[in-house]
């Protein structure tokens, strides 16, 4: 089906991808990823979002209701897209949205995002600080205005996986022996497992949960399972706990070795699958098949990766840049007191460069200075020196620290550069004159 009438026609019918044996490391075992990240809004939540709306959408449109859900991720994205495609509004209420890109994409999609305030330093025992309680109050106050999809308790959540995800997997792979999936609302693993179990008596469903402490997007830790209305412990043969580090490690395996741009939650599912399988006797896995759910893409989570694996994003250090300076060289940078600087500026032809950001520069600067913010000057210096040879240079920054590095660097390159000790702050404290760009302030 390559010709779609409506975006909802493109939900589901996702492919499976065979994982290379050298990645899972279990000889003779076939492991597949169910590529839920191929769904139009980017995740497995597209299925439940549509199923929770499908029967009621016409009525919602007629009544002009606002769709509301407590989600800080994929469900919100899918509901926002669906609401938009039907011309109705969507609002999500959540505790802090921990991944900024997710919030930005929701804003881009026109969703209304409400975040509950952060915890107080002295919490008030009478304050519920609970998104679901907040939604309930909101719905009571404005009866009929909202349609709450309620993913955590809605039976349509597991049902749609029973009706679609399970049969799709069976169609593509035949009999499957293991299902591995992150437990978020628990709907996908519950519904899919219920279907696959009917086809294979020895089928086993393994839920992947997160270690307590840090979080893996979209999946729960042991305690948070208690918050789920549809969770059934008996539906899982085992729950495997995966920590954040491992989840990221395995998502990198998928990204870098499989060409599959899957996010940390998919990484957790793969890691959990391998951890579970490795504890079974190898011979019992010969010729067996397992499938894990690759629920969404890596791009949503760049800042998540960045925060936890900053080294993946570090700039290659340019040998020509400031980073080659030693502490001693920086300490030895030539400085002038504010008064000496003023005298010099009055006596000689000196180029005064202010390396602060433009906001600070426009508000207050020394007359006659030019503003080149430090990060831009640093970039320039990587390709060459933007000053005329023999030109005397005086650099100034906020407190006189950052500018020392540039002075040291320029000194090393044979330039006559100095900086104002204590920066603009010291200059001001001496009562020396500053001026402002009025038009800019």
């Amino acid at each position: 089906m390559m010709h779609a009438e409506h975006i909802t026609d493109l939900i589901g019918q996702t492919p499976v991808l065979k994982i290379k044996e050298n990645i899972h490391g279990i000889p003779g075992f076939e492991l597949y990823a169910k590529l839920e990240l191929f769904n139009p809004f980017g995740s497995l939540k597209d299925r439940i979002s549509w199923s929770m709306l499908e029967d009621e959408i016409q009525e919602i449109v007629q009544k002009g209701q606002v769709i509301v859900e407590s989600s800080s991720g994929n469900t919100a994205k899918a509901l926002a897209a669906l609401a938009g495609s039907y011309g109705v509004k969507f609002k999500t209420v959540s505790n802090r949205i921990k991944v900024p890109e997710v919030k930005q994409i929701l804003q881009l999609m026109g969703a209304e995002v409400e975040e509950l305030p952060g915890l107080s330093e002295c919490p008030d025992p009478n304050d519920p600080n609970d998104p679901l309680a907040y939604i309930e109050t909101m719905m009571r106050q404005d009866e009929g205005k909202y349609f709450h999809t309620s993913q955590y308790t809605n039976p349509k959540n597991p049902q749609v996986h029973f009706e679609t995800t399970g049969p799709e997997i069976e169609k593509d792979l035949g009999q499957v022996d293991f299902l591995f999936g992150g437990v978020g609302t628990s709907g996908s693993t519950l519904g899919t497992a219920n279907y696959l179990r009917q086809k294979n008596q020895n089928f086993r469903s393994i839920g992947i949960i997160a270690e307590k402490g840090d979080f893996i997007p979209g999946i729960r830790n042991q305690d948070e399972l208690l918050e789920l209305g549809i969770f059934q412990r008996s539906s899982y043969e085992e729950l495997i706990t995966v920590d954040v580090k491992t989840a990221i490690e395995y998502s990198l395996e998928l990204i870098r070795k499989m060409g599959l741009l899957a996010g940390p939650t998919s990484g957790a599912a793969l890691a959990g699958a391998i951890a579970y399988l490795k504890q079974l006797p190898a011979e019992s896995l010969q010729g067996k098949k397992g499938v894990f759910i690759a629920c969404d893409r890596a791009e949503w989570y760049l800042s998540y990766y960045k925060k936890r694996r900053p080294e993946l994003f570090e700039k290659k250090t340019h040998t020509a840049g400031l980073s080659i300076l030693t502490e001693l060289e920086i300490l030895a940078a030539e400085t002038l007191t504010p008064q000496e600087s003023k005298n010099l500026l009055e006596k000689e032809k000196v180029l005064l460069v202010d390396i602060r950001g433009n906001l600070g520069f426009s508000a207050n600067h020394i007359a006659g200075s030019i503003n080149i913010p430090d990060f831009q000057l640093e970039e320039m210096l990587q390709v060459g020196i933007p000053f005329s040879a023999g030109q005397k240079i005086l650099l100034v920054c906020s407190v006189g620290e950052q500018s020392k590095k540039f002075v040291a660097f320029l000194g090393k390159k044979g330039f006559d550069a100095k900086t104002i000790e204590g920066g603009i702050l010291a200059w001001r404290d001496e009562g020396l004159p500053l001026q402002r760009n009025l038009s800019l302030s």
Binding site: L119, D223, L226, E227, G357, G360, S398
Partner: protein
Amino acid sequence: MIILQPKISEEIQEFLQEKKMVRSLVQAFGSPLNLVFPHQISENLKKFQATMAHEGVRGKVYFAHKTSQSQAFIRTLAISDACIDVASERELKNALSCGMEGKRIEATGPKSPEFLLLAVMHGVLISVDSVFELQQVVELAQKLGKKVAVLLRMSGFDKSGEEILKKESRFGIAVQEFERAIEVLSDGKSFLDFQGLAFHLDSIEVKEKVRAIEQCLELIQRLRTAGFESRFLNIGGGFKVNYLEKQEQWIEFMSQLKEMTMGQRENSIWHNQTFGLRSEKGVLRGSFNSYQFFETQVAEKYLAEILNFHSEKYGQRIADLIAENLLELIIEPGRAMADQCGITVAKVNFIKKSSKGNLLVGVGMKRSDLSFLDQEFFVDPIHISLVENSASNHSAEVFIVGNLCLETDVILKRKIVVKQIPALGDLFVFVNTAGYSMDFNSTASIQQNIAPKIVIHKLGEEFCFVLDENYYPTL
């Protein structure tokens, strides 16, 4: 039963080895007894200062006096380069009498006319809480022929743009009233020494603080066009503290509390309380409404996180934005400054059983001697056994109850484990109580003692003690 092992500084650990001294102190001064270690507060100060220097901002630390009434703390800070934030007339008097000069004092919070007058007389920096108060200050300054240093305390940020739901705040000048405040500032210009803006958010969320800082920068721009140059940006307090030695214990306790709420585990909390959690149709609802006693992003680390936050709006680090705008930072840490600066000791008065057969250990203190705004103190006390060959050598689970004839006077609502059943005269030590847990809520109900404060300090290798009001730090 979960152990919540307290984090204890080396100095206090060493002191607690001196069992005889601890016992003598309780005998001499009664139970409960607050012991303070003022040396530590200067260490905590240095950490904040080092962070500001490292991140490239100039700034001042104003200790929030409300955290503790100890004079020793203030005398210790007075000989350093710290400042102090006072929120009442008596706090102001105390700060002055402990050696803080008026220019190192900031008056915050709700102010009586008397408090305001005294503050103005001493040249205190006034963090102005309302337009009404600003008018009061102008009037006072006019009558006294003084120029008064003021910060405008702002609140109600973020009216446009992203939605973060906010609780109504009783403090500060609402952003909508800002223009009115500028008018009053302009009218009173010759009597005011305008210093900048202040805020304090009732939230530990870094993002919200960053947004407030960004908005203050906008307001500072607006003030510039009206002819007011800001020198300071005061971002308030709320710097977190870690009370516990082990994160696993806190995580495990939270798990057990949730299981208790769901009825999956026998409840070991007094009267089955669940601290904001509840079970609804088999699903866990609500949220844990207490201080997080285990924290990693504490004090100066939390400050560093704010300062290193990259402002999307301006494309720069918060620290750089502050410095470049020629602003100096003011912070008002309280709890974080008092971290590891004190302990509370109480004597065992009786052992008995509750009507349901729980073992109760009665100590010579009341819940309000420890509990800040009736919040639970989720840290195990240290049991100091003084009796040799105690009758029982087996561990037990007990509730610690207080000395008021009130059902609610239960010191710790969590049942705790003691290695042996306490005997009469044994001591319980509550660790890290100097921040809000010593005197904020303490009362003399039914004429029970209010704990005196005793300073513990070292002279050479030896621990010495002195009444808090008599302590002066050695220079």
